[in-house]
């Protein structure tokens, strides 16, 4: 019922369902699954009903309605909302209420969407399991002993649990695509600059993008349409035409399209055999739709993760400097006035020590180190050079093909607690996803089957800059030809 925004729009237009009814269903679905999965940091029940009422009134009055009218949308808690707390799942911002809306949130409101609440995430979007959240782990609706992935774990889980048809995530190194894969849904990371970052609390500014998550490609296209576009308040926003993303869906004819298969990623030992098989099967689906498969190389792909784990922490260490307890956010109550560095430094140290969790601290330390005098050339500046090589690899590959096909993750959803104490294992979850962030490319994660335990498997398509339409076109064809995106987890029982 709550798994298709397109269907909900149609039902409202036909007068079969009101926005208030949809919102009530969404809220009750959340209420019944939240104890099991903990997908939300904040549920704005009253405000959501209020918004839904306005939508129904507008419809009754025959006023024009936005493209997401009456559709419940969950927003990752990394996006600023002027009427709900914005915590980034951090103790540091536990009580932070921004005085403004992120651009994408403004756009949701303009589109008459019903913002249902804020979703749980890894603290400041740092993590691949939602286990670093200060407000408890989110569980995977397919198997509540497993993580939903991260950092947009709550955003993926609430869609998979049938709470909402649409949610907004953010993707710095795979944070939309990996949880989408773990939760069996579709998630798209747009081209860097396609969607405004204004009001997206920065983790790594040169990599962060906001993107849509939903069960199916048409719903992803619908939400992308609502949030994409140039915005002068974000200097890195691209001033480029936004095509109609829904226009070319509903086809299975991919003749003339060349899809590149990455020889490196399909050969890596880290890859789970079931996922390797799912990628091969997907290739066959594309071939059966008329696409041509070609093998391509990205010679520097082994440097993706190390490059990412220098650049992202460097930017994070700087972006997170503002959380010092002086102006807003967590401030320690035990300033050591006798500290040898003085009370001010003590206030900084203790506020940050108490406010940040272990993973955030680890990345701040790594980034601070890698930017320090004498080390910046060896790490940060070197990483920037490698990043240019990585971009060059993609440019080359896209002279030979139109899209790249590969896995999203090395394995399906892992168990809660399995990797949380092993940062390197956790970082390797990003093996196949960080390339698109480093190169600024759009990429989509699609349900591509399941493993022997019934856990969802994702496949990934990557496209050249600003070719979201091409991604959605091929992904739409794939979903027209397959039923993977129609699989649903067992309903959640309230006790777990």
């Amino acid at each position: 019922m709550l798994d298709s925004a397109a269907e909900l729009l149609r039902l409202q237009e036909n007068g079969d369902l009101t926005a208030v009814e949809i919102t009530e269903k969404s809220l009750s679905a959340i209420e019944s699954s939240e104890k099991s999965i903990n997908a939300f940091t904040h549920v704005a029940a009253e405000k959501a009903i209020e918004t839904a009422r306005r939508v129904d009134a507008k419809r009754a009055a025959g006023e024009p309605l936005g493209p997401l009218a009456g559709i419940p949308v969950a927003v990752k808690d990394v996006l600023c909302t002027s009427d709900m707390p914005t915590t980034c799942s951090s103790r540091m911002l536990k009580d932070f209420l921004p005085p403004y809306d992120a651009t994408v949130v403004e756009k949701l409101r303009v589109a008459d969407a019903v913002i249902i609440g804020k979703t749980n995430m890894d603290e400041f979007a740092m993590g691949a399991s939602t286990e670093t959240s200060a407000f408890g782990v989110t569980r995977n609706p397919w198997d509540t002993d497993r993580t939903p992935g991260g950092s947009s774990g709550g955003a993926a889980a609430c869609v998979a649990a049938g709470n909402v048809p649409l949610s907004l995530g953010s993707d710095t190194g795979g944070s939309i695509r990996q949880p989408a894969a773990f939760c069996g849904i579709t998630g798209l990371k747009p081209t860097y600059g396609r969607v405004s970052r204004y009001g997206l609390v920065a983790f790594a500014s040169s990599l962060d993008q906001v993107g849509p998550m939903a069960w199916s490609v048409p719903d992803v296209a619908l939400l992308l349409q609502a949030i994409a576009g140039f915005e002068p308040r974000d200097s890195t926003s691209l001033n480029q035409y936004v095509p109609n993303y829904s226009e070319i869906l509903q086809t299975t004819d991919l003749r003339g399209l060349k899809i590149g298969i990455l020889s490196e990623s399909s050969e890596t030992e880290a890859l789970d055999p079931a996922i390797r098989k799912a990628v091969q099967d997907a290739g066959e689906v594309f071939r059966s739709c008329g696409a041509e498969l070609v093998e391509v190389n990205l010679p520097h792909s082994e440097y993706w993760v190390p490059t990412y784990y220098v650049i992202a922490p460097c930017e994070a260490s700087s972006n997170l400097s503002r959380y010092d307890g002086a102006h807003y956010g967590h401030r320690t109550e035990s300033i050591d006035t006798g500290s040898e560095h003085g009370p001010l430094v003590s206030a900084y140290c203790r506020s940050r020590d108490e406010g940040f969790g272990a993973e955030v601290k680890r990345r701040i330390m790594v980034g601070t180190y890698a930017l320090s005098e004498g080390y910046a050339d060896k790490y940060y500046n070197q990483a920037l050079k490698v990043r240019r090589l990585i971009k060059g690899d993609f440019d080359n590959a896209f002279t030979q093909c139109d899209l790249l096909l590969g896995p999203v993750t090395p394995s399906p959803a892992f168990r809660i607690g399995e990797k949380v104490d092993d940062p390197i294992q956790m970082y390797l979850c990003d093996l196949f996803t960080v390339g698109a962030n480093l190169a600024g490319l759009p990429a989509i994660s699609l349900p591509g089957g399941s493993d022997s335990k019934g856990l969802p498997i994702g496949i990934q398509l990557q496209a050249p800059v600003l070719e979201e339409s091409r991604l959605l076109f091929a992904a739409g064809a794939f979903q027209t030809a397959t039923d993977h995106h129609k699989q649903r987890p067992q309903p959640l029982t309230e006790t777990k």
């Binding site: 980034c88 921004p98 403004y100 700087s318 400097s321």
Partner: protein, 489 residues
């Protein structure tokens, strides 16, 4: 002061606040003096999720300033983050420029204070743009050292101009700052008001002392907290003496203590130690990923160069070559700014007497401006009126005294020069009338006639005074000439 040969080495870091309407990265007003924390927004407060957007006007002002101080403007520049923690820096970093400043490698010409006829070139290493921090106000009166923070200033655009260590005395520093302020105010790039903080100076100073045939360098001291040009001059004079005196006692050199920071105490008139050992701070500069690099096409630089017009130093030269002014006089007029220069040139042209125009402006006009605390733009005697008045003096129609009467009249009442002359009852006196007046005086004063005939020409002076009393309109010059003619000298 010294038994040794000493060279003073001074380099300056000058921060000027650019006169943009809005801040460097947001649309908040950059005006001075608003109530605390009223000119702020999510961007300049550094709130989570807020992003900077560059102010084009600041780029333009920086390029204009850079061109005026003979800098080159590179085709590409960028923004970097300079990272440190302080409560008046809400983002935990300052957006600045590290390795690609918007202006580089220039110089400023100053008049050598030791020799007004020669010019010194002071090298400028770079000038870069950056956002200002807020203000911490430490309230020690409450007894618990309460600190309050005003973030209005956060994000206002600064241009930091770094000189080579080419300055050799406090007087040169004062001249450098005067010239810099002159240029930047002339271009309307900055107000350059030290009291309001729109111009701030940090000076690095040490001495090179010849000793035993070797050159010894004293530790470098960065002097801060100077809030007027006078304070800068006095602080440096003090610091130069102190460094020599200390070296004579302790013999410490730059190797013993590379750099300390001292503040200037304006009341006690001395510098005091602020930071003993300068720790080399690691600001972890890196390119700001929220902002794009700035491309500056050569054509745009050329356009801005053309728009600069005549710069103060060029006017200074032209006033000498074209108007025949002495360097001192040209300097005084140029230092008054563009409006005064225009005023002077008009008066000079209309009166046909460049030097008379200069001396009247420097004395009568500037004194009146100062007494009445008005600017030349609001001055009651227009350049046309003064030009006309001085033309009459040059033509011998008026003497200086009568001209001053007219000037005073014009200051009080709105009227033309002609009306003023009429109102004051000033008339041109007929030469036959002067002849008669002079003959009468000579007849009454035979002693004077004898004195003049005996060679004491100056003796006629007393008769000129008497003539003036009998007829205030008599032109003293004309009276003098008539007297001498009648004596037959």
């Amino acid at each position: 002061m010294s038994k040794h040969e000493i060279t003073t080495i001074i380099g300056l870091e000058v921060h000027v606040q650019l006169k943009t309407k809005t801040k460097l990265f947001c649309s908040c007003s950059a005006a001075f003096g608003a109530p605390p924390n009223t000119q702020v927004c999510p961007v300049c407060l550094g709130l989570p999720g807020a992003l900077p957007v560059m102010n084009e006007e600041a780029i333009e002002l920086a390029i204009r300033a850079g061109l005026a101080i003979n800098c080159s403007i590179p085709p590409m520049t960028k923004w970097d983050r300079k990272q440190y923690f302080y409560p008046d820096l809400p983002k935990g970093y300052q957006i600045s420029q590290f390795d690609l400043p918007i202006c580089a490698d220039g110089y400023l010409e100053i008049t050598d204070p030791e020799d007004p006829d020669s010019i010194r070139h002071i090298g400028i290493i770079r000038a870069h743009l950056e956002e200002d921090a807020g203000k911490s106000m430490h309230d020690e009166q409450t007894g618990k050292s309460d600190t309050r923070i005003d973030l209005n200033r956060c994000g206002t655009p600064l241009l930091e101009i770094v000189s080579q260590p080419d300055l050799r005395s406090a007087a040169e520093v004062k001249e450098y700052l005067t010239q810099l302020k002159l240029i930047l105010t002339h271009l309307d790039v900055s107000d350059c008001e030290m009291q309001e903080g729109s111009l701030r100076v940090d000076a690095n100073v040490n001495l090179h002392i010849r000793f035993d045939g070797k050159k010894i360098a004293t530790p470098i001291v960065e002097v801060k907290n100077m809030n007027s040009f006078r304070a800068v001059e006095r602080a440096l004079e003090y610091e130069i003496e102190r460094q020599y005196a200390d070296w004579e006692v302790d013999g410490l050199t730059i190797e013993d203590n590379p750099k300390t920071t001292r503040g200037w105490d304006d009341v006690k008139e001395r510098t005091f130690v602020q930071r003993e050992k300068e720790e080399s701070a690691d600001y972890r500069y890196f390119p700001d990923p929220d902002l794009l690099p700035i491309r500056i096409p050569a054509e745009r630089v050329e356009e801005l160069r053309q728009s600069l017009g005549e710069l103060p130093r060029e006017t200074f030269a032209r006033l000498q070559s074209q108007h025949g002014l002495k360097p001192y006089d040209a300097d005084v007029i140029v230092n008054q700014g563009p409006a005064m220069i225009a005023y002077y040139e008009r008066v000079s042209e209309l009166s046909g007497d460049a030097k008379r125009a200069s001396s009247w402006i420097q004395q009568d006009v500037m004194r009146t401006l100062k007494d009445r605390d008005v600017s030349i733009d609001d001055f009651l005697v227009t350049s046309v009126q003064l030009g006309e008045l001085l033309k009459r003096v040059s033509d011998g129609q008026l003497d200086n005294t009568r001209a001053r009467d007219v000037f005073s009249y014009l200051l009080e009442k709105e009227s033309t020069v002609e009306q003023a002359i009429a109102a004051l009852g000033i008339e041109q006196v007929d030469s036959s009338e002067i002849d008669a007046l002079c003959q009468a005086l000579l007849d009454a004063n035979p002693a004077v006639v004898d004195d003049v005939r005996g060679g004491k020409v100056q003796a006629v002076g007393s008769l000129i005074g008497q003539a003036k009393k009998k007829n205030p309109n008599a032109n003293p010059q004309q009276v003098r000439e008539t007297l001498l003619r009648l004596i037959g000298k």
